[in-house]
């Protein structure tokens, strides 16, 4: 194995470990903040030619949906149709949830220039189809 190959292998492993660590941290974080922001559930399916990202946004007002991309980070924001409070959060004072916000780290081979967005209004779900860039 050449030095370059060994270096690339180590670099890849370090990136995987950082990703795993970040994932662990995310698992521990609650899915809401005290200032009324909810984090939606996201499901990612990997296919040979694309990624399919499904985002569950119950009570979302799709008119206010914004998607932006910054260096392979997909940022999604959307207001709720109305403010929602749950009794369960009563212990943390009266929190009214107003919007969704999440940041999804896209894989390196995701073609962020050609994302196709499908909205399922009835189910309040988003489906993003992201082509994968073929590497030689």
């Amino acid at each position: 194995m050449s030095f370059d190959e060994l270096f690339e292998k180590i670099r890849k492993r370090i990136r995987e470990l950082i990703d795993e660590f970040e994932e662990e941290i995310r698992e521990l974080e609650p899915m809401w903040t005290a200032d009324g922001v909810l984090e939606p559930l996201v499901s990612i399916e990997r296919y040979p030619d694309k990624y399919v990202v499904v985002i569950d946004l119950p009570y979302a007002d799709f008119e206010t949906l914004t998607l932006s991309i910054m260096d392979h980070l997909l940022i999604i924001e959307c207001a709720l149709k109305k403010e929602i409070a749950f009794e369960r959060w009563g212990a943390y004072r009266e929190i009214k949830f107003k919007k969704y916000h999440t940041t999804i780290k896209l894989p390196r081979d995701a073609d962020v220039e050609n994302i196709k967005i499908e909205k399922d209004d009835a189910r309040r779900m988003l489906r993003l189809i992201i082509p994968r860039i073929r590497r030689m």
Binding site: L41, S43, D56, P58, Y59, R123, R127
Partner: protein, 265 residues
């Protein structure tokens, strides 16, 4: 006033404790145990919680374990209790076991054996498991398909009468799979109803389908209209459970279910 006081009886199996607040031997003895455990799409969890609320089922027991479960108490109407609860229908036709937290991997076998032992102890005729079966294109599916698997001929008869499709090959990961294979070995009647669902997003629509099938099996009315109307709210309220269940499913290698077994025909 607290919902529960001291248990009438506590039974111990496999280092798990069943606390009873009712007499399970009183006539009529429940014929069925319905299982709603966190799994793909939270189909069983959503369906069972809806059944508890809509039928006003009575809380009659808890399953707990200092050996296998995290140190958690869930509080309902000021009463602290285990996240795994047992409910009884008003006509004593069926018991329902639901869990409000994912089943830890190390608890899957002992909990499965405990449920089987308990069903035999009190003389239940059938265990009916409500499950989701993940399909990758769920968002494109208008009407989820239903499949079944049974441990005995008697349980199979419950499903064949309804004209449902039997699963023939595949993997089942988690407590439902363990209960089914062990039920077959012990000659206990267990039927799993699988409804196509999301893997890691809550799926109230599939839960409604599962309840419609259950209503036919138990021959009871279950109106799922409210469940469908409140689907958005249910999805919002079950996000945290889905997130925790996703982690447990990953630990159990849940994605095996999407693979074909080695010896398929």
């Amino acid at each position: 006033m607290l919902k529960l006081g001291r248990p009438r009886r506590t039974i111990s199996y496999e280092r798990l404790l069943i606390h009873e607040y009712f007499d399970p031997y009183e006539e009529p003895v429940p014929e069925y145990i319905v299982l709603g455990l966190p799994d793909a799409g939270l189909v069983g969890s959503i369906a069972s919680k809806y059944l508890v609320m809509s039928k006003n089922l009575k809380l009659v027991g808890e399953i707990d374990s200092p050996a296998y479960f995290p140190p958690v108490a869930v509080v309902h109407e000021k009463t602290p209790m285990s996240p795994i609860q047992i409910y009884l229908s008003n006509d004593r036709k069926y018991l329902l076991i639901l869990s409000e937290s994912p089943i830890p991997v190390q608890a899957v076998y002992p909990l499965s054996y405990t449920i089987l032992e308990y069903s035999r102890e009190i003389g239940v005729k059938h265990i009916i498991s409500l499950a989701g079966i993940a399909v990758p294109n769920r968002l494109q599916i208008e009407k989820p398909k239903v499949y079944w698997l049974a441990s005995t001929k008697e349980s199979a008869n419950l499903a064949t009468k309804l004209g449902l499709e039997e699963l023939k090959e595949g993997f089942i990961v988690g407590p439902y799979g363990i209960i089914l294979k062990e039920a077959r070995r012990r000659g206990i009647n267990n039927l799993i109803i699988f409804v196509e669902s999301f893997l890691d997003l809550p799926d109230p629509e599939s839960a409604a389908v599962a309840l419609t099938i259950l209503s036919q099996i138990l021959n009871i009315d279950i109106d799922v209209k409210k469940l469908l109307e409140e689907a958005e709210l249910i999805k919002l309220q079950t996000r945290e459970l889905m997130k925790q269940t996703r982690k447990t499913m990953a630990e159990m290698q849940k994605k095996y279910e999407m693979q074909m077994p080695l010896m398929y025909q």
